[in-house]
């Protein structure tokens, strides 16, 4: 008994220890990279500046549309350093000053920064203010010096600044008094002390200011009126001549302002270009003596031959990109042209003054899926025979970046992946003979060697080199990147749609690109804009022979009522199976919970006239749809005028064309928020594919609560219109946040709560029967997270055990939402330290495993927070029974455990979204975070309870078994002998 009385408290202690231990997801150092991968991107390059000095490494500095400034290795395309500026700090221009500073102008021309070229450290930063917003221009004259100081000329916010290159001090500034003056160009003729500022005032007045570059003194101001107006674009052909187009786009104007005298020269385009039709557009370029215009899809290069005479030098029918001019010697300037022709691209480098001679003419085979070249940047190097060699950096339609040199692609970067719009997951093929794509088998010797190493590792006999070899073997295990389904469902394909309209399939094992597909352009639609991805066909059971496919919804043009395009893409091969150009717009897509016999999911597409169109357009789908016709509803959120409307399907379309797959809708209900006090900021629903294991929640005292689990529940957060701005822009009294739970079939508001003194932005996540949302508390000056759990009170009476034992209850029978549910809600709020970029929740195959919230923090990391911390039943002093149930004592703020950062030491720069995909193994979920960078990992919110962990000691198990067998054998022999001796006695 004495032993027992000791034993009981001991066991209780152990139990307490386990229950108080929150499942921390920390990794050991050698586990990094085993299940996770991280990829760094920069986005579509806007501007590139080469730095190819003799000393130091050759690099190219780029600024991108994702607001990244990066220094790339010119040999391999790797990132030396990279800075992501905020989304409201858009980069306007970059350049290299003094050969060792990267100068960036950003934030609408109001922030000028200098970065150290080798390591990317910031040297200085200056703020440039001005009277009003304007175009921002950055100019670094090579040989303009003021008191031995190199000068940066910046035109921004309608003011001209001269800034010192060394310390960022503003040397002088100059305002322009003319009303409505819009600067187009700032010109600094090399070798002079003058700066020309040219632009338009009103719509028909050309203005020129001549300024002394040394002190900002205005030397001359001239203006001239051209009666038929200008198009707002200038092309610089020499330091004192610009070319503009008149407002109709049919007359070219050569404007020269030599010696401060403005003179126009008009040349109708039809005079120099035969069969020109349609208005022309000037392609911005800075090649001396030559400019380019584009009429329809034809690019025309025109040379200016003295005194405003124009001459067409070439007409190119293909898509063409032109680089800026590159000085290659004292008097010569080169530029490059890239043309797209079928599966090849043609590169041409020419001298500016001599069109006919080609410095370089090459053709390079190019992957069709990269589309057309968008931008080209040229750089030269001196070959050993002292001739000029050229390298070209080109940006393709899919936002990829390639370096071409000597007729070959030196490196390429898939920077389209920096701007992912939508992600969905797809299974890999089942492993069959000949299906697997990856080569797994290697020779027997390698295999044996690997296993010997592993054995050494387990027996702790490995030397440090062996350990390193084992580690690299683990990281590069071919098992990980195999192109076939695995037993645990860890290997999948992530299908991502990028802003460039390209689909990529990423392998979850190591993140490599399995295939990529640029959305097909058709006659009807020249530039489809990808919007969303849906799982179109997910074959299982009877339709296993079919490949799964995804549906890409795109729109033909930027406006919301442009006709839609549907593309169906096979996820195994990346081939476009079919493409439909619709005659209606796509405003909403509703995947229905029904599939046809080939496992194609039925989708309802709502157009801008509120007609519903059913896809696929088959009679079978129509049959299924007709059966469920009266039960299908849809809702629309009009966030600009704060109305949520519910609709039901009425009848077939009453259009002029009979279309059986088109249905009219009628309005059923509407929730109108008072526009003077509430504005919708966030709406969240449950994820369609979320699995919920049970409807009951069992309390510690054996009591049961029934969760209100409905797919048709919408969480809406509204804020005061005044408080929809930045945090701190309103007083707590003026700002509030109202959270609603709305049934989207009936329009019934199930719950409503007001947080006074709260402000957006609101980030929310909805799962099972709970919503968690994040907002700012103006009174406490802290972020807060709230949780609402919703329970069904009408089911609470189902407590008769016998009825339940015999199954005489109606808990699982189908229910109608029109039967009024009685719900109760529980909610609680906590302080949270971080501001949040995205919130997601883990999802598992059956929904048994406990959940974790995945919070994308402002530091671009992903934090896993147990749902148990956001449990409205938490109290300051939980009872013993509640403690056993796992209820954590209530604290005012949510803890941030450093080990529970899913991204461990890495950062997902510019984090935008977090996606979770269930693995086949119930305990595990796959997490994909995307922004400018990509990050993928596996998570087990309740640890891997259904499989042995990687560090499980198989050796120990084996040794134990062997020892046990030996012991059994020995004792058996001993007992035999003893028995024999006993018998002889």
């Amino acid at each position: 008994m004495a032993i027992r009385s000791f034993f009981v408290p001991f066991l209780l202690l152990v139990l307490w220890f386990y229950s108080s231990l929150s499942p921390v997801l920390s990794l050991y150092e050698d586990q990094v990279g085993l299940m996770d991968w991280h990829q760094q991107y920069i986005g579509k390059v806007k501007q590139a500046v080469f730095s190819t000095q003799k000393t130091g490494r050759r690099r190219v500095i780029v600024s991108t549309e994702e607001n990244v400034i990066a220094s790339l290795d010119l040999r391999h395309g790797e990132i030396f350093w990279r800075h992501l500026l905020g989304s409201n700090d858009v980069i306007d221009g970059i350049d290299i000053g003094l050969g060792k500073y990267v100068i960036t102008l950003s934030s609408g021309g109001s922030i000028l920064r200098s970065w150290n070229l080798p390591d990317g450290q910031m040297v200085w930063e200056s703020f440039l203010q001005g009277p009003k917003h304007s175009k921002s221009l950055l100019l670094l004259p090579t040989n303009l010096k003021i008191e031995k100081d190199n000068v940066i000329v910046v035109f921004s916010n309608d003011r001209l600044h001269a800034v010192s290159c060394i310390d960022g001090e503003v040397l002088w500034k100059k305002d322009f008094e003319t009303e409505s003056f819009e600067t187009q160009q700032v010109i600094q003729p090399p070798g002079s002390d003058l700066i020309y500022v040219v632009g338009f005032a009103a719509s028909s007045q050309f203005e020129m200011y001549q300024i002394n570059a040394r002190n900002g003194e205005l030397l001359k101001h001239e203006s001239a009126i051209f009666s038929s107006g200008f198009l707002r674009e200038l092309s610089l052909v020499s330091s004192e001549t610009v070319v503009a187009l008149d407002s109709t786009g049919s007359i070219l104007l050569t404007i020269s302002f030599q010696n401060g005298e403005i003179s126009f020269q008009q040349t109708p385009i039809s005079n120099i270009v035969e069969d020109s039709s349609g208005p022309a557009v000037i392609i911005p370029s800075s090649v001396p003596g030559i400019f380019a215009i584009k009429i329809n899809s034809v690019t025309i290069f025109i040379r200016v031959i003295g005194k405003g005479k124009l001459e067409v030098v070439e007409k190119l029918n293909q898509e063409t990109a032109v680089s800026n001019a590159l000085p290659i010697s004292e008097s010569q300037q080169a530029f490059a042209l890239v043309q797209h022709a079928g599966s090849e691209i043609h590169l041409v480098a020419k001298l500016a003054h001599d069109w006919d001679a080609n410095l370089l003419k090459e053709s390079i085979k190019m992957d069709q899926q990269r589309g057309i070249p968008h931008k080209v940047f040229i750089n030269n190097y001196i070959r050993t025979d002292r001739s000029h060699g050229f390298r070209l950096l080109i940006v393709m339609e899919d936002h990829s970046l390639l370096l071409l040199q000597q007729g070959a692609i030196v490196w390429s970067r898939e920077d389209g992946l920096a701007s992912i719009i939508d992600v969905t997951a797809s299974e890999l093929p089942v492993e069959r003979d000949g299906v697997s794509v990856a080569k797994v088998e290697h020779n027997l010797f390698e295999w044996l060697k690997g296993h010997m190493l592993k054995l050494k590792g387990t027996l702790m006999l490995a030397s440090p080199e062996d350990v390193a070899a084992i580690q690299s073997m683990r990281l590069k295990s071919s098992e990980k990147s195999k192109m076939a389904r695995d037993h645990n469902g860890f290997r999948k394909l992530l299908i991502v749609l990028t802003r460039a309209g390209k689909l990529f399939a990423l392998h979850t094992g190591d993140g490599h690109i399995v295939w990529s597909h640029l959305l097909h352009k058709s006659e009807a639609c020249q530039s489809p804009v990808g919007l969303n991805l849906y799982q179109w066909q997910v074959p299982h059971h009877h339709a296993l022979d079919e490949n799964p496919s995804v549906l890409v919804i795109s729109r033909c043009g930027p406006s919301s009522d442009a006709p839609g395009v549907l593309s169906f893409v096979d996820t195994y091969t990346g081939k476009e199976l079919n493409s439909l150009s619709l005659d209606h717009a796509v405003v909403q897509v509703i995947p229905l919970p029904h599939t046809d016999s080939t496992e194609q999911r039925l989708h309802l597409l709502i157009d801008s006239d509120k007609h519903a169109h059913l896809y696929p357009k088959t009679s079978e789908a129509l049959g299924i749809f007709k059966r469920e016709f009266s039960n299908i509803y849809w809702y629309s959120v009009e966030d600009h005028n704060s109305i949520i409307k519910g609709h039901a399907l009425k009848c077939k379309c009453t259009g002029e064309v009979a279309d059986e797959f088109c249905f009219d809708a009628r309005d059923l209900w509407s929730v109108v928020f008072p526009s003077e006090s509430e504005k919708i900021t966030a709406t969240v629903t449950r994820k369609l594919n979320e699995m919920v294991h049970t409807q009951a929640k069992v309390m510690a005292d054996q009591d049961v609560m029934y969760k209100y689990i409905s797919r048709n529940l919408l969480f809406v957060a509204t804020v005061a219109p005044k408080g929809s701005g930045e945090i701190g822009s309103v007083t707590p009294e003026e700002s509030w946040l109202v959270a609603y739970l709305i049934d989207i079939v009936t329009g019934r508001i199930l719950y409503r709560v007001t947080h006074h003194g709260a402000q957006g932005p609101v980030h929310a996540v909805f799962s099972e029967n709970w919503v968690v949302y994040h907002f700012f508390n103006l009174r406490a000056h802290r972020y807060e997270m709230s949780v609402i759990e919703i329970y069904d009170q009408s089911r609470a009476d189902n407590k008769d055990v016998w009825k339940l034992v015999l199954g005489k209850h109606n808990l699982t029978s189908r229910i109608s939402l029109f039967s009024r549910p009685e719900v109760i809600t529980k909610s609680q709020s906590y302080f949270f330290t971080h501001s949040v970029k995205a919130i997601a929740v883990t999802s598992t195959a059956k929904g048994i495993t406990s959940k974790q919230l995945l919070i994308g923090t402002i530091g671009d990391q992903v934090l896993a927070l147990d749902k148990r911390f956001l449990d409205p039943r938490r109290s300051v002093n939980p009872t013993q029974a509640e403690k056993e149930e796992g209820i954590i004592p209530l604290t005012d703020s949510l803890p941030i455990i450093p080990q529970s950062y899913v991204t461990h030491a890495l950062r997902v720069e510019g984090l935008r979204g977090i996606i979770t995909v269930p693995a086949k193994l119930e305990s595990t979920t796959l997490v994909f975070a995307h922004g400018v960078d990509l990050f993928f990992t596996q998570l087990a919110p309740s640890r891997t309870y259904d499989s042995l962990t990687e560090d499980f000691s198989y050796a120990l198990l084996l040794i134990t078994i062997v020892a046990l067998v030996a012991a059994i054998f020995v004792t058996w022999r001993l007992s035999e002998r003893k028995e024999l001796q006993d018998k002889w006695r």
Binding site: R4, R555, V589, I632, Q695, N712, L804, F818
Partner: protein, 179 residues
């Protein structure tokens, strides 16, 4: 004997009867030896053996009762141990509870064997057996009660609904903010 008589009657002079009649009450007309009172011996002998038998059966009965009451002690001990184990589910409490369940069951299975040594025509074993069974059933009940307090018996509604899938809804709605 019948035959002897007949022989004697028919003129046989003597006969030696080897049969030992010491225990059987004499039926012949030979007088008993002097000082021997047959009646007293007969009576005495039977009294002693009867007394002995009575004592044994008494003892057996007593023992049987004792055996029958033995589970009671066990019951108390079990009760104490259960109290010690507490109401939380862990290895120790589960072990105790299952031993508390197993002991009565195994005892009940071996009721016949337990009372075998005390089997006697004169001993009434039904009472002790019933007591034994009752006490063991009591022990079993205690075990079951403990099992229930540990929450291992499906006696609550929560035990039957904890894996009920959510009810399907008839209606379906989708949509959201326009793309």
């Amino acid at each position: 004997m019948e035959k002897g008589k007949g022989v004697m009657g028919s003129g046989r002079r003597w006969a030696v009867d080897f049969s030992d009649n010491s225990t059987a009450p004499s039926s012949r007309d030979i007088p008993d030896p002097l000082g021997f009172n047959r009646a007293s011996v007969d009576q005495d002998d039977s009294t002693v053996s009867r007394q002995k038998k009575d004592a044994e059966s008494n003892w057996k009965a007593q023992k049987a009762w004792e055996v029958a009451q033995a589970p009671f002690k066990n019951l108390l001990m079990m009760g104490f141990m259960m109290w010690m184990a507490g109401n939380t589910v862990h290895l120790f409490s589960i072990g105790i509870t299952f031993s508390a369940l197993w002991q009565p069951i195994s005892a009940l299975q071996g009721v016949g064997k337990v009372f075998e040594p005390y089997k006697d025509s004169k001993v009434e074993l039904l009472g002790p057996k019933l007591l034994f069974i009752a006490l063991n059933l009591g022990g079993l009940a205690l075990g079951v009660w403990k099992l229930n307090t540990l929450g291992l018996l499906p006696t609550h509604a929560s035990d039957w609904v904890s894996s009920l899938p959510p009810a399907q809804e008839v209606e379906y709605s989708g949509g959201g903010i326009p793309l």
